[in-house]
Amino acid sequence: MSSSVNLLIGLAMGLNLLALGSSRMPSVIRIVAAQGVALGLIPFFMEDRFGWLVALVAAGTVAVKGLVIPNLLHRAMRTAKIDREIEPSIGFVPSMLLGAGGTMAAVDGAQLLPLLSEHAGTLLVPGALASIFTGFILLIGRVTAISQVCGYLILDNGIYLIGLLLIHSTPLLVESGILLDLTVAVFVIGIIMDRIQRAFDSLDTRKLTVLRE
């Protein structure tokens, strides 16, 4: 049970590094979607017995993160006619090395934390910390709004992993609420990106520094 969870989280950590290293927008979106699906499958393997509520949340997560959000992002890319090339402000190789260093630090640092004995053997906490760190690198190191959205989604995947630690005590309402928030946020960002593209002819967030009436 724990080994298949670890395998899925290891896969997600590998996808983190791939997301840092890929230079095309559609492939980053696909990687984020694959990571969402991999993490959404985890609750199925964490439970000893099959629970309807947990299964429902997991299926919802897979559907939203694997289908709805990537579709929203692809549509936003099409309508705003965004360039497929990513311009990094932190280069691909340095950001990958940073991400790898962060992953290793997360694996090592999680052993220092006072975890419950049932969580100590899994990669849940290291995976969460590594994903959050990767999300931050993507948010800082990419200049266009849409790649920053992908960073935000990876960051959210990390937070979701931390939420899995509390899978028995979080009400279903909270989980589905977070999922709904995420969908709405991406939906709204898709609209905003279109507006930014029309107003500034680019999605470069470095140009959005001056406030005017």
Binding site: L7, G10, L17, G21, S23, F92, V93, M96, L97, A100, M104, V107
Partner: protein, 302 residues
């Protein structure tokens, strides 16, 4: 005396078998493209033809122009003697021989680059510069892979350290070493062995001004390097050691052949990457080997 004879015999097998692999590779590529392709033994014919030809020497070239390929070939042959062949073990084996293997490969690369610079042509200098700058990253990956194997087995002798990890570690190591194999042997997606456009080639650019026997030696050395990396990759990933002797030899030969066909398939299905994306791919290979090292470390600690 018998030990000496055995070494000679093994070296002869290595030297004789190595030019077969590029033939198989080209046959695979031709098969995927729907062509008949050159015969599998084409490289043997080429080597024989080149050996009979005379050498054209630049007036600028020092004796290093001839000595470079020769020294590189000797270094590669010595490296081949160190690599264990499944149940038969290595022809030479001592503690720390893996370090000698890494250094012999580096020496071979240095001598090829040196001979390329001796020609006094800017294209060869460019090829040498590219080769060496890729080597910085691919050698880091190779050394990390060696480290992970040595941590795994607690040994620095090639004969005993090729006890592969299982599961995720083996997958990481296989992917990392495969990328290193492609980069070190100048295959697609790092370099295209078929291209003869001066601006894009790497290994071919270094051999541009060589002719006759020195070129034959360079080509044969390259094929030996390919065989060496294929054997290393198969033994580092597959648990060949646990099998009985005959099955182990068959498994080794089968793996080497199938990886060769795999390289041919990669070459047919992928285009060459642009130069600025190559460091990214090599860094990925390095990271794969690094995570294999971490897994070996953590697994060993438990």
């Amino acid at each position: 005396m018998t030990a000496f004879l055995e070494i000679i015999l093994r070296l002869a097998v290595w030297l004789a078998l190595a030019p077969l692999l590029p033939g198989i590779l080209n046959k695979t590529k031709a098969w995927v493209a729907g062509r008949r392709g050159p015969p599998v033994l084409q490289l043997y014919y080429d080597l024989a033809r080149l050996w009979r030809k005379s050498v054209v020497l630049s007036t600028l070239a020092s004796p290093g122009f001839i000595a470079g390929p020769a020294v590189a070939w000797v270094a590669l042959a010595a490296a081949a003697l160190l690599v264990p062949l499944g149940p038969a073990g290595g022809a030479l084996s001592f503690k720390g021989d893996v370090l000698l293997l890494v250094y012999l490969l580096a020496a071979a690369r240095f001598c090829t680059a040196w001979a390329a610079l001796e020609a006094g042509s800017s294209f060869e200098g460019m090829g040498a510069a590219r080769e060496v700058s890729y080597a910085v990253l691919s050698e880091a990956a190779l050394i990390t892979a060696v480290l992970s194997l040595s941590v795994q087995s607690g040994s620095v002798t090639l004969g005993t350290m090729l006890t592969p990890p299982v599961g995720a570690g083996a997958a990481l190591l296989a992917a990392g070493l495969f990328a290193v194999l492609l980069a070190e042997n100048c295959r697609v997606p790092f370099d295209d062995p078929n291209t003869h456009l001066e601006l894009t080639m790497i290994h071919e650019a270094m051999a541009l001004d060589h002719s006759g026997p020195p070129l034959a030696v360079i080509l044969h050395g390259a094929s030996m390097k390919l065989l060496l990396f294929l054997v290393l990759l198969s033994e580092a990933v597959l648990p060949i050691r646990q099998l009985p002797a005959f099955t182990a030899s068959a498994a080794l030969a089968g793996t080497v052949l199938s990886v060769t066909v795999g390289v041919g398939l990669v070459e047919s299905l992928l285009a060459r990457f642009s130069f600025r994306r190559v460091p990214l791919l090599l860094t990925t290979a390095f990271l794969l080997c690094l995570f294999a090292l971490l897994l070996a470390w953590k697994g060993g600690a438990q």
